[in-house]
């Protein structure tokens, strides 16, 4: 797949997209477009989620039972699929958050030993 990311953008670390989606949905149901936009705007447009990764990720999470979806009408007055966290999804989010904190801590310790 040819990729041409704009230079100032950051690449998502592998495996973090799922966590970001779960996190975004913590505030309530949202459709795919909204999730993508929320992630970019909260990262001050430094993170850009490709639709080619977003939708497979949403379906994958739904298949695992962490999300559920229902059809609704979007602000553009068009049919849209709204995703929502399930109980299992909430548990998964907190697990991923713990792991992420741990990972950031460990990596930070290695990268900046003096900071401790």
């Amino acid at each position: 797949m040819p990729k041409n990311p704009e230079p100032e953008r950051l690449e998502l670390l592998q495996g973090t997209l799922d966590m970001l989606i779960l996190r975004t949905l913590q505030w309530g149901a949202q459709h795919g477009h909204g999730i993508g936009q929320a992630i970019s705007s909260q990262s001050d447009d430094l993170l850009k989620v490709e639709t080619g990764s977003l939708y497979p990720a949403l379906h994958r999470l739904e298949k695992r039972g962490w999300l559920k979806s229902e059809w609704g009408i979007s602000e553009a007055n068009h049919k849209a699929k709204y995703y929502q966290l399930t109980a299992a999804g909430k548990a998964q989010l907190s697990r991923e958050r713990d792991r992420w904190t741990q990972l950031v801590g460990v990596i930070g310790k290695i990268m900046n030993p003096a900071a401790e």
């Binding site: 639709t51 602000e75 068009h78």
Partner: protein, 876 residues
Amino acid sequence: MRPDERELDDEIRGHLAIEIQQRIDRGESPQQARVNALRQFGYVPQLREEMHRVWYGRWYDMAEALVQEMRVGLRSLLRAKGLAATVVITLALGIGANAAIFSVVRGVLLRPLVNRGEERLVYVRQSAPGLGTDSVSFSVPEIKDFRERVKSIDAFGEFSTVEFTLVGLGEPRVIQAGVVDGHYFDVVGLKPILGRLVEPSDEGFKAAGVAVLTNRFWTQSLNSDPTVIGKTIQLGTRSATVIGVLEPSVPYPADTEIIGNMVTSPHHMGAQMVTMRTHRMTRLFGRLAPGKTIEDARAELSTVHAGLKSEYPESYPERADMRVDVTALRDQIAAPARPILLILLAAAAVVFVIACSNVANLILARSVRREGELAVRAALGASRGALRRTLLAESLVLCGAGAVLGVLLARPLVAIVASFAAKFSVRALEVTVDSSLLWVGASLAMTAAVLLAYVPRLPSSQSPPGNGLAAGSIRITPGTNRRLKVFATTQVAFSFVLLAGATTLLASLIALRGVNTGYEMEEVLAIDMPMRALAQSNADDLAFYQRVTERIGQLPGVEGVAIGSVTPWRDAGKFGIGITFGADGFTPADGEELPRARLRSVAPDFFHVLGVPLLAGRDFTLEDRRGAENVVIVSQNLAQRLYPNGEALNHKMWWVDPYFGPKPIPQRIVGIVADVDDEHISPSPVMTVYHPLHQIGIAGRLFVRAKGDPYTLVKPITQVVQGLSANQPVERAATLEDVRAEVLAPERLNAFVFSGFAGVALLIAVVGVAGVLAFGVSARTREFGVRLAIGSTPYLLLTKVLSEGATIVSVGIISGTAFGYLFAGIASSYVEQLRMPGLLALLGAAAVLVIAALAASLMPAARASRLDMLQALRTE
């Protein structure tokens, strides 16, 4: 489209709608907003593919990888066109043969009948193994007893076959007709497509004659004319009204044109038919009572039958050993075709095994050549699974192509095999090409593909890859060589089994064709000229026959004319299994029953016209007629059996069957003729009694001996006969030679089809043996160079390769024989009357195989002997 796909489309559309809306809100023109939104969204097919991966997971990845591999495989196979073509054609033969035969097997043996509730429909059969006959039908009193005593079958239907001269529908002619009781159609579960069928109200002596047309007759002979309903037709001496047309169904036990009620047949109304327990001419169908199985019915019928046997011992002679059996009608109809179809299925399976092992050889040889490539891939980190997948993809491409070609090949084959099977069971007539052909083809191809993918050895992870990597060339290992030889031997062994079978069939066919039948075969024309139903009296009829004889005798090219009652072979069994008789001066030994003989009615000159030698006494004359002394001519076998000392002439004999009246009529033996068995294909000694036509009055067959081509006489003979009586049918003219060939047709087809299989197998096996040896030679060029260098001669190399071929063939033949006998042992429990090949057939098959294989080895052997030493040493 799957729901998932549609939902995804909706989701994408929703996403785009929001994006466009936002862009318009930001001030872009609708047009531009749309283009930009689409551009930003990215490539939709890519997304779709990603989604598939999410939805279908692992399987999707594997399938995708396999498709990729298949593309690679296809490309690499296109570079080896010769090999690919051989493999595809070989597989196509194997798959095609199997698919075609399976279609027919399914159509004939497995498919349900159209009859309503066919799973409860049974056929009841009475047999007399003691008399060597497996169907003696039932008599009216027997059926009455069954109706009263049997509970597990709650309805019986009667069907008997008679011949009528039909007048009123097209040309007057003799037809086969069924005569049924009022319950028959309800029992067998058939509906009319027009009008109504025979019903219980059509029973009894007072009922009006009614007739139902069979579907085949109505559509083929009457162009599906609906106005035929209500027409009055003449059936022999009686008339009947056409009341309906039957739905299409399997004609059993006889393919008739019409089916009438009992009153249409005067015979069925006669006292003999109604009261005589031994007058058996009715076939019996039944419908199982609710909750009863065929086994229940069989057990109950046997008990009832045993009761009848002890109540009426005179009607069930000890020696006849009579029994009843119940089978599902479907099985009963398919039964005659069952053994031959199962054997063909086995033969097809054997061809498939041969084809597979041949293909395995080719693929093995190929994979040896690419061991280098596989080793490189393994060294680069390809897992064993990935390598296997490469091989599987390639064999899938090959087998897929083979299956496509095989199914194409099978389509016409189905028609051929079905017309072959139709000689044994009428059900084969309705066999059509259907999707099962595809399923069989596809599943065989899959089986072959998986098997073939596991044939080649993978570069093992234990052994250092250095060898294969360094050389990148052919390095034939003893293991591979052994495998190649095992596969070649397998082919030879299986081909031998088929060849032995084919030679057995051919040998028996040749033996049958060469049999001396006792008749002049080529010059004598046999014609059906049934007795006129409308004749005023029997005497009138006989006078008519006499006039016909005289007039035809005057035609140019006619050497002799005679009237008889039975066309050899074609009318076999017409008068049953023989009639018991007695003779003066003959007393059967204690406990021995009276002997049985065949009854024939012949006109004067009959023996001369058919070429049967008169051994003693005189021929009949026109003076042997009603009112004159009762006389007979007997066959030599009968004369010797009764009078071993040769004094048969002028003794008297008489029939003891009640059919001939309560008091035996003695008849003087005036002549002895040579034995002729006109019922069996392979003649056995039979006893025959000939009556003078003008005394007993049974006729119906005309025999004309011709100078030159007998068939040129058919037209003038027809004109003469119909000039004398316009409504007289003149049918089925054929020389005795052709009548016999017609009867031999199933045997001939058998041998033909089986030889076809054996031929294909032989071809594949020869290609296989040649291929293995050729590969061996090319892989061992260097070794041969060394041998030449240290003093071996080209001649030695030649014999070495030839002897390798001979080893493969002899091991193959020996294991083939062993396998063949093992297989025959298993098969004989499913198929009765399995003929084992004679020694001659075995030797013949072996000779064919050895010669073919040696011829196949000659080419590679010659190549080995022509090797140039220096070049050979320099290879690799």
